[in-house]
Symmetry: C2
Subunit: 353 residues, 2 copies
């Protein structure tokens, strides 16, 4: 088995954690007898923007669109390029142009990770956030009127299509079907957001009929965030719109200790395009260049990538190695109370394999 992977480190700590992810991927490939052919790219970064006036070359789709997967670091350096320019010029473009309509993010309390919630143990928090990743609140439609005057205002459309909602719900229901608890929670706000959100609820209701073996419920986003804190053990698969999924997949990992180790998969389930695997943490300019970033989010994303490529055993082995390293204080990075640097932590995980 052989896979072609585009490696895109991007900005900030992306450049530091991606090499550790690659280190672990190369080790596991050797152990499990498959080949990874890696092509590295320097675009999708603010450095590239400052040199070329755009985040990516015109033929970026040709350059990376033929790969089996994209292993992505992080993008954004707001002091150099406004966030909405850098992100809409790369990451958010991948999601939309490669039709990666599922953003999948595990929320799991691992042994050795200090949990901010009182009395919670590994096993208490273990669920998946499924986020719609192409439409919803992240539309690009809207504008400003009466600029520069007291009457100035802006509008922006939220757009939800039946196709767009149904396909992510299908993914979420099927995921719930494969898990022991078979439980799906839908995030809504149909009491306040009176057009799009009642429609979302309608589609959930309708789609649920195809999955009589899945128990489902819904919460308004406000009380749902409260329940993440008060009752994280209630959840199994949580599905939400682009914005709600974004919020829940930062809040969830925080409840499970830290977003520093959280991983994400931007998936095109039909495999017409490559999927993107990235840590949740972002480029973190404030600690970039110091070699102290935690590489676990990146390494975990590598495991999700292997899972997507069909290398399930290898993916599981990476998770086990992560858990074993987390259990030893000296091998953890500083953000988790250890004293290892990025490279030392990455090497420790590679050695556990």
């Amino acid at each position: 088995r052989s896979y072609r992977v585009a490696v895109v480190p991007g900005d900030g700590i992306g450049k530091e954690v991606v090499p550790e992810g690659v280190r672990v991927l190369e080790k596991i490939a050797k152990r499990h007898g498959f080949t990874l052919k890696l092509d590295w790219y320097d675009f999708s970064s603010c450095d590239y923007y400052l040199k070329h006036g755009r985040m990516m070359p015109e033929d970026w789709k040709e350059q990376i669109g033929g790969h089996d997967a994209i292993f992505f670091g992080a993008v954004g350096w707001p002091a150099r390029v406004p966030d909405h320019v850098s992100l809409w010029g790369s990451l958010l473009l991948f999601r939309r142009d490669f039709d990666q309509y599922v953003n999948l993010r595990p929320v799991k309390l691992l042994p050795g990770v200090p949990c901010p919630l009182a009395g919670r143990k590994p096993g208490d928090i273990d669920f998946m956030v499924v986020r719609e990743n192409t439409e919803g609140e992240y539309s690009s439609i809207g504008g400003k009127m009466f600029p520069g005057t007291a009457r100035e205002f802006v509008v922006q459309e939220t757009v939800m299509t039946r196709v767009g909602i149904d396909r992510v719900l299908k993914y979420a229901f099927e995921l719930a079907q494969r898990r022991p608890k078979r439980h799906l929670t839908s995030a809504t706000k149909s009491n306040g957001i009176s057009i799009t959100m009642p429609y979302w609820d309608e589609r959930v209701e309708e789609m649920s009929k195809g999955y009589p073996d899945v128990r489902w419920d819904k919460y308004h986003i406000d009380i749902l965030t409260a329940n993440f804190v008060l009752h994280p053990d209630w959840f199994d698969v949580v599905v939400g719109s682009n914005l709600f999924g974004d919020i829940l997949s930062d809040l969830g990992p925080a409840c499970a200790g830290t977003i520093g180790i959280a991983a994400a998969a931007n998936i095109n389930p039909e495999r017409n395009y490559p999927s993107v695997f990235e840590p949740v943490h972002g480029s973190a300019p404030d600690i970039a260049g110091q070699g102290i970033a935690n590489p676990i989010g990146q390494i975990w994303s590598g495991a999700m990538m292997l899972d997507h490529l069909g290398e399930h055993e290898a993916a599981g082995a990476i998770l086990t190695a992560i858990e074993r390293v987390l259990a030893e204080k000296t091998l953890r990075t500083r953000d988790l109370g250890g004293n290892a640097d990025t490279v030392a932590c990455g090497k420790a995980i590679a050695e556990m394999i």
Copy 2:
């Protein structure tokens, strides 16, 4: 001093906790030498809707618009009337038609309240959420196209006006100015929501120039919810759009133990219209009629009402009484590990005054 207050219990546990709020208000009025003239209304409830086919009579504005304040319970009973019908027919209409553009919600860890965050003590969590309350994501503009077909889609506008943003920011900056820490945090999502949110940021930047004595920062809503859990001590005044403020003011109280005791003020700062004071918890149909609801959110809302009316000492005295009752386990309701019922808890607070 004499004040005319419209009392609107609404639905579900609203009918049980409002009388306790009134009990405490009447006691404090006697103690502090002012008069409350209360007028009770049965509209703004699903019962009223089932009888009259609408949530409120046509002349609702005349009936309650002349009062000094509105003391509100809760509205909504989704099994009887869809939420967006009941809420847009009452509570959300008050907010918009009475131009209550500030929704103010204290987040405070009180002694005796079990905190879900490990190691947090009273004093660690003490901030205010200021929510824009009339525009933003809660617009009523939008609709559906190609209904009933596979191409079906819905759109809904988010609308942000300079007037609407600036006035709530002014309130938030001035509130921060009056607090010892003088710190304001703005909730944004300008990296993903590329039109309205960068505009929000622009207005914060601009308005901040008028308040050089206030230190301010901003976080994207996803990481902000994470920081509520990981670093609740970072916050002093947090300002957000209608939706973001809604989320943060459920999440905040959950981090401080329970939304069961949280209070809210829907304020028209110019006093052209009455303001509405309500608990955050809602009508809770699942426990309605059992007499077990916690009345503290309602009573705390009464304190916020007195504050707004200028009775600051009386407001402070209610807070002290609440804290003293919370400190005694037997006087707490079941949701906080006690065994008092709604009436017993309300009476205990009234007696402390």
